[in-house]
Subunit: 225 residues, 2 copies
Amino acid sequence: MEKLEKYYHQIKNSPVFYGMKDDELQGLLECFNARIRNFEEGEMIIRQGDRITNIYLILEGAVNIEKDSYWGRRIIITQLSVNDNIALAFVASKNIESNIDAVAAQNTRVLVLSYEKCTSMCQNACTRHKVLINNLFDILSKENIELIQKIENVSQKTIRDKLLTYLSNEARKRKSNSFEIPFNRQDLADYLNIDRSAMSFELSKLQKEGLIKYNKNKFVLSARV
Amino acid sequence: MEKLEKYYHQIKNSPVFYGMKDDELQGLLECFNARIRNFEEGEMIIRQGDRITNIYLILEGAVNIEKDSYWGRRIIITQLSVNDNIALAFVASKNIESNIDAVAAQNTRVLVLSYEKCTSMCQNACTRHKVLINNLFDILSKENIELIQKIENVSQKTIRDKLLTYLSNEARKRKSNSFEIPFNRQDLADYLNIDRSAMSFELSKLQKEGLIKYNKNKFVLSARV
DNA sequence: TTAATAATGTTGTAAAAACAACAGAAATGT
DNA sequence: ACATTTCTGTTGTTTTTACAACATTATTAA
């Protein structure tokens, strides 16, 4: 339990527990059987078919939400990072199996809470549960909007349009024309559902045309985009 | 307010209000300024850029959630039907503008509730609000899972794989190999982000190969799919 | 019933993507 | 510093898709 102390401030200010008083949070962390788990890059945190009963809060690192298609191709649905929750939607619908994998994209530290344990104990009656569920509702709303955004990105017709849509959406999100993306080329291709080499080719083309500049994961969009 | 009576039973048993006592629901409908609105096929219920402050519950009909791509192509994100809520994610994130259109896919009857009005009045304190937010959390979770499902559908590489993935997901959802889909051919193409005529061609091919049978919107999957 | 309109299916052609194979650059480990 | 491995970019070929144009079948209206 001592290790929790180190992250207490971060936990308290995370969207899940935002607005909770210290004593409420302390009690909740105990009641939730809170513990910290570490995952190495590439390690599976959640597998397709799992039933999720825990709330996962990312304290350090990043996690890819993936799906292997029936024919073996990898689909990256989204990448989560610090302060995000993993597979929250499956916690509420507890009789629905996870249809996604969660894979550590780097070495990752996660706070794990037994949601089930708390709801059974406090019967939804305590104030901290009320704050929590409000927060969870907000978080899920934002996730929902993110997923719609992603659908827009991958629904473009050409590789070019997918790239431009993705990049300009990222720029808008960060309120800057200059930003880093969390993906390497292969991951970006798996996120946009396109071939890596074809994507590389189109990126160069966009750079030659002066629409974008990039170096590794750092992108700069020209005003024209 | 009399018109509400006609739908009272349906409203009471809808996922949003599920588990609410009669007096709670009655009070809530008043406090929410509940009213019924009708939309004709093709009419816009929500537009990109709107700020959503109402909860919309579909009582009759169906609604397409759409987005016009920058280049003018139509994307159907999902189709909602009776008992579904429209654009719920944007109600929670009230300072985020809608990035989607909601268009009546048929003549549609909708219950409209001012979410804002209630939250400001009851300060999240009344029991009915607690039941409501729990329900909303559940609904958003399911929507989330649906969106992930849709991402899987459109992330397949070929038209054939998109169709087979979509159809077998539908079959699983309805627990039957025989089912109707809510789309005509053009809408299905816009949902899967593919060309209608190419899709028609592939559908015939699948039928010739004996993998599927179809007539209009009614599909039957062979055991091999 | 017939004409008009809409929806769906079919085909050929041009465009785009996937794929494979490889070259060069960057990162990693020893 | 060197060898090894991983990542990224490039090119040519094959496959798939979009698009356009039209045929056929349903649906609607007169």
